[in-house]
């Protein structure tokens, strides 16, 4: 009898946790989905410059120019990390430069935001 009740209690607790988990994760998913359009897409080392340009609606040429790279034709698919290796520069420095170029293109000083 005692053993059965212990098992029932354990299953009951697990059930409550599962219900709680459902609500927490569904709420988080819903909240993130609502803010998805406004959220800023962070720049990562694995991304290519055209990929970053597409995510931020900025011409890729602007970003290549900002980091001082002549793109390899026709579409440069090297990751930011690979470009940093080729240039022998720290990847974080390159990401920082790209982020500044994106910010400037999105909010040009004294101009209309893109």
């Amino acid at each position: 009898m005692g053993e059965t009740w212990r098992r029932t209690l354990a299953v009951g607790l697990a059930f409550v946790l599962a219900i709680l988990g459902t609500f927490v994760f569904a709420y988080r998913a819903g909240r993130q989905a609502r803010h998805m359009r406004k959220a800023d897409e962070p720049i990562h080392g694995w991304m290519t410059v055209p990929f970053i340009a597409h995510a931020h609606h900025v011409p890729a040429s602007v970003l290549f120019e900002a980091i001082g790279v002549r793109p390899q034709a026709p579409q440069d698919r090297r990751s930011v990390r690979q470009i940093a290796r080729d240039l022998k520069r720290p990847v974080l420095e390159l990401i920082d430069q790209l982020q500044r170029a994106v910010d400037t293109a999105e909010h040009p000083p004294g101009g209309q935001p893109r």
């Binding site: 009898m1 059965t4 098992r7 029932t8 299953v11 009951g12 697990a14 059930f15 599962a18 219900i19 988990g21 459902t22 994760f25 569904a26 988080r28 998913a29 993130q32 989905a33 803010h35 998805m36 359009r37 959220a39 897409e41 962070p42 990562h44 080392g45 694995w46 991304m47 290519t48 055209p50 990929f51 597409h54 995510a55 931020h56 609606h57 579409q75 698919r77 090297r78 990751s79 990390r81 690979q82």
Partner: protein, 199 residues
């Protein structure tokens, strides 16, 4: 590691996608949903073809799943024990075997994409449980192609928001898993409470 895989898909496209999803289907914990979303985004940028991406992702996953099933079915208890030790405990594999038998085809289908972390276990367990291979192949192919098409299409539609979309889908997967667990546990709880009491 994940960064290198994502960079490989961005740089080499469909062949890299094929290889990575095949390895993940055998049981390596790799960020496949994010990779498929990135592939979708690359399609919208004109850097990859839609059909190549779905084909590569579908074929790679099916190949990996078949390898898992074959190990379970014909690999012998030693290899299965070693692999299940890699994934977790032998007892977990036995529990999965019971689930694979109970869920059948729809279980295989749903663990290809909606509950994909369980996929490698179900492959191995379907093999050890002796689930018919032609049925496994049918549900596997259906689930993997559905999953590839769904996630790649989502990446295509939200091509400028891949990281945000990946976070939403990650939470949604956990919500679905928790809901399914709640349903199973709810049934068990009801069965316990309805059991006649011995005075």
């Amino acid at each position: 590691m994940n960064e290198q895989l994502l960079a490989a898909v961005s740089q080499y496209g469909a062949p890299a996608l094929f290889g990575i999803v095949a390895i993940a289907a055998i049981g390596a914990p790799l960020p496949i949903t994010l990779l498929l979303i990135v592939a979708g985004s690359m399609i919208s940028q004109g850097a990859m073809s839609l059909w190549w991406a779905i084909g590569a992702a579908g074929a790679g996953s099916i190949l990996g799943d078949q390898a898992g099933y074959a190990i379970g079915r014909w690999g012998g208890p030693r290899l299965v024990t070693r692999l299940s030790g890699l994934f977790g405990k032998r007892a977990n594999l036995q529990a999965m075997e019971a689930k694979a038998k109970a869920w059948g085809g729809p279980g295989i289908f749903i663990t290809r994409w909606l509950l994909s972390p369980l996929g490698p276990w179900i492959n191995l367990a379907s093999g050890t449980a002796g689930y018919p291979w032609h049925r496994f192949l049918f549900w596997d192919a259906l689930g993997e192609i559905t999953g590839a098409a769904v996630f790649i299409s989502l990446g295509w539609v939200f091509s400028d928001r891949v990281m945000a979309l990946s976070a939403v889908l990650g939470d949604l997967t956990w919500a679905v898993a928790a809901l399914l667990a709640a349903i199973v546990l709810g049934y068990r709880l009801l069965a316990f409470l309805r059991r006649p009491r011995v005075p």
